[in-house]
Structures are given as structure tokens and as C-alpha cells.
Amino acid sequence: MPSKISRETFIQSIADLLRKAEIELPEDVVDALRKAETAEENSVAKSQLQAILKNIEIAKKHGVPMCQDTGIMIFFAEIGNEFQPSFDIEAAIREAVILATVKIPLRPNAVDPLSRKNSGNNIGTGIPDIHWKLVPGNHLKITVAPKGAGSENMSSLRMFNPTEIGNIKNFVLETVVNAGGMPCPPLTIGVGIGGSFDAAARLAKEALLEPLDTQMEGLEREILEAVNALGIGCMGLGGSTTVLAVHVKTAYCHTASLPVAVNIQCWANRHASIVFGGEE
């Protein structure tokens, strides 16, 4: 059965989704920031966390993007095998990004990697980045995660030897120490372990979408405690709140490989989802 949604409605819904992601943080992220502000004892760090909370309020009140780096648009699309769109979904998503760039507005961030020429509308070869997953069902779930460069630039990937599992924690710590205040801590850290060179990076990015209030276990908790003990703090000015959450995702890998990717996310862990279709 073809999906009932029209192209126009879809484009408007995706543009609205971008607006939501840019202006309002998910409640679990705001909660984690509030808890950090309450727990922080360093006065400079506390003042920075208070500024962040105030900024979140102002962005929501005025309906403006919380950060001027409105990011590049990264989409995760989950499409049911029975969902039959009557139009080209990727083309419609691109159109929605162009519309949102003018309407919200968004900062034009997409440039050619070598000439550095800015396209002016956040569209270009490979941008927006859309990841597809085919699943059973008759729905289409779209998640957008606008990603700023400040934190993305501090991310890292290393191909370890299979016997170096014990070095994974130190690799994450090293990445965070080198980043210092540059990626706008308090951070969310996504760690992808296994897969292949590119699959590990994908896992790390997907890990950033995990709710911050989920229970962290084992390696996640170990990394969280070790990072927060370093004293880098909010904005790298010192204090105990460097990381809000660490999430690890794994996949099977080649017996001779151990890829590890660390994706760094600033405090503004922006993402929003919408579902089209589904059960009838």
C-alpha cells in the first residue's frame, strides 16, 4: 500500500523537525545539564553551566537556534519494508534542508572540502548525510542530528591490534585530554568498537543518540569516572563535569582487527525524530 503522506507535507514536517532539533534540546539532555550544575563545586565551572542553562531557555523562548554553529545535517532513516513512498525521499529531505536554512534560519555551513566554496544552502555532494536502515514494518522514522564542527573535529579513530583491548579506555582519555575545552564540554562520548574502519565510526555516532538517562555499565561507567577525574571541566576551565554520559556500541569485527572510534559531542546534544505511517 503506497504511503499516504504527500511530498509537501513531508518536506514541511522535516523542516519542522530541523527547527525543533536546533531550538530545543531533548529533555534527558537538559536534565543531565541541570544535575551537573547542581553537583558542580568549582565556581567558574558552575557559572558556565548556568550560562548554558540560561542559553537553552532563551533559545526556546525566542525560537532561535541555541548555537550559531547549526551544524551539518546528519539523518538516520529507518524505513519499513512495507512503506512505499510516492516520491523521492532523499530529494525531499534535501529540499527540506534548503527550506529550513532560509526559514529557521540555519547558518550555511556546507563547503567544498578543497575549494572551501560555501554552497549557501547547506546542500552539497554527500550533504546532508543520510543513513538508511531497512527494517520490517510499514513506517518511516527519520532522526536528524545537526553536528557542529567544534566537537566533531576532536573525534578520533584508531585501528588497534586485537590484543590491545586494555588500551581502549586510555585511547578515549587521550582523545578527551587532547581536546581540552575545545569541544565545549560537558560532553557526550560515543564509542564504537568493532565492525570495520567506517562501521566503527558509524557506531560511535549512533551511540550519541542514546538517551543520557540510560544506565551506564562496565566500560562506559569506567570511562565516565576516569574522564571526570581529569578535572578538565565545563569549557575546559576546570571542574568535575567534563562528561555527561559515555555510550559504547559494539559490532563483530574481523579476527585480526579491533577498530575503535570516539565521537565527541558538545553539551548541545541536538537530535529529534519523527515517525510517518506505522500500524493501521
Binding site: V64, Q68, C184, L230
Partner: protein
Amino acid sequence: MEYHLRTPLEIEDIKKLNAGDIVYISGEILTARDEAHARILEMDEKQEELPFSLEGTVIYHCGPLMQQTEKGWKVISAGPTTSGRMSKMTPPLLRSHGIRAIIGKGGMKDVTDALKGKCVYLAYTGGCAALAAELIKEVKAVHWLDLGMPEAVWVLSVEEFGPLIVGIDAKGKDIFSEVREKAQEKFEKQK
């Protein structure tokens, strides 16, 4: 200590600041990031005159989100960008121009000597762009729009812009590198 300063800044205004102090700035600030830094240095080398003066100015590491309206440019969102990217270009910039303060986020590497006696680095909370936009009262001019909206030089009129934390003072004290060194030490110890 808390200071309220007005531009243009004199050397005496900034020499009294200590790392950790809180500062609010009123007057005029100029945005400049990667591409603007590169162009200024390129023009300096060719001994060409810049379309704006940098004497006594405050540079803001920021690529703002602007909207063109019938009344001119409007600031939507304008928080600081990562200053670390400008670390290498900053010492030559300070050699040839009387910039008295740099606002940014995340700190800078190897600039304390270049700042000594003439300039301070002020940290503004990263990502707090909606908050910053409220403190920007007017867009006075824009230069080099050909570099794109984020990379252009925006001349902004601000009122009580802050709170800014003195991250690196003009006496060589750098909070960011102190925090980073301590973190590095702790990291080495637990390895």
C-alpha cells in the same frame, strides 16, 4: 574581580586583568575566524590596507548566524567558535595590529608570549549563542562577505557583553593550559 570595559581598549585597561577575572565589554567588537585571519595576514604581507582598523579592538572568534531583513542584518545566534584553530595565526596578527582582547572558547595554544603586555584572551561560554545574540545591539558593518557568512568580518555593537572569563592574561598566566597540564599528569599517572 569583575571589570566593565568600553572599547577602544587601552593597554592599561587590560594589563590590570588577571586570569580568572570576570569581564564585560561594551562598544565595538569584530568577528574574525579562520579565513579572515588568513586574509588579514595575506594583506599585511603585501602591505595592503585593511578595510577596517584593528587598533584598540576586540576580536571575537565567531561565525555568526545572521539574517538579512529590510532593515539590514539581524543577529540570530552568535556564540564563540573554537579558538584553537586560530592559535598559529594569532602571534603574527598581534605583531602588526594593536588588538587588545580576543574573545573565544576553548583557549589557545602557544600564544601566551605573543599576548604578554598587550592583549588578553577572554573565554565566553561555548554554544551560548542565543544568550550572546541578546547582548549584540547592532550590526554596524560587514566586510569580506565573499568568504561566506561564518567567515566574514562582522562589526558588532555590544552592551555588557559577558560574562567573559579572563582565560589568558597579559602576564603569561593561562588557565586552559594549567587545566590541560594537570589533566595530562593525572592521565599519565592512571595509565
